[in-house]
Symmetry: C2
Subunit: 82 residues, 2 copies
C-alpha cells in the first residue's frame, strides 16, 4: 500500500530543547564536527488507494492542522515515498 | 553551512502509541483515506565543514547510538540535505 511521508520541524525562531540536549550530548560521547541539532517529527501515513492530487491535498491539510502546530512548527515535506 | 538529515522510525513490530493516537484523530476531524500512521523523528544536523565520507560515517554512528534506540527504532535515512 502506498505511503506518504510528512515531515515537521520546529520553526527556526523557536527554542528546541530536545535538539539542544542532543547537541550537548554529542561531543561528550566523542562525536565532533556537528555544530547544531534540531529535532522534529516524521510521519509515515499508509493510504488506502492510489496517491492522487486530491489525496495529497488532503494530507497537506492534515499535516498543517493535525500533524503540526502551525504556531511553532513548519511542515517541511509532504511526499509519496518511493 | 551544510546540513545532514537523520530520520528514525519505530521498528514495524513495535507498538507506536503516538502514531495510533494521530490515526484515531484523523477520521474524527474529517480526514479519510489514511489507514495507518506511524510517528518517528527527524533530526537536522548542521555541520562545520564539508560533508565528507568520514563525516557521514560519523553521523551514521551517532544516528545508531545517540539519535536512535536500536532496540526499538530503525534509522531509515542519513543524507545531506540539498
Amino acid at each position: 500500500m502506498p505511503r506518504i511521508v510528512v515531515e515537521v520541524m520546529p520553526k527556526p525562531e523557536i527554542l528546541d530543547p530536545q535538539g539542544k540536549a542532543v547537541n550537548g550530548a554529542l561531543p561528550r560521547l566523542g562525536f565532533t564536527g556537528i555544530s547544531q541539532v534540531r529535532q522534529g517529527k516524521r510521519f509515515e501515513l499508509t493510504v488506502d488507494g492510489p496517491v492522487t492530487e486530491d489525496l495529497l491535498a488532503e494530507v497537506r491539510r492534515a499535516a498543517e492542522t493535525v500533524l503540526s502546530n502551525p504556531v511553532i512548527e513548519d511542515v517541511v515535506r509532504v511526499a509519496e515515498e518511493a
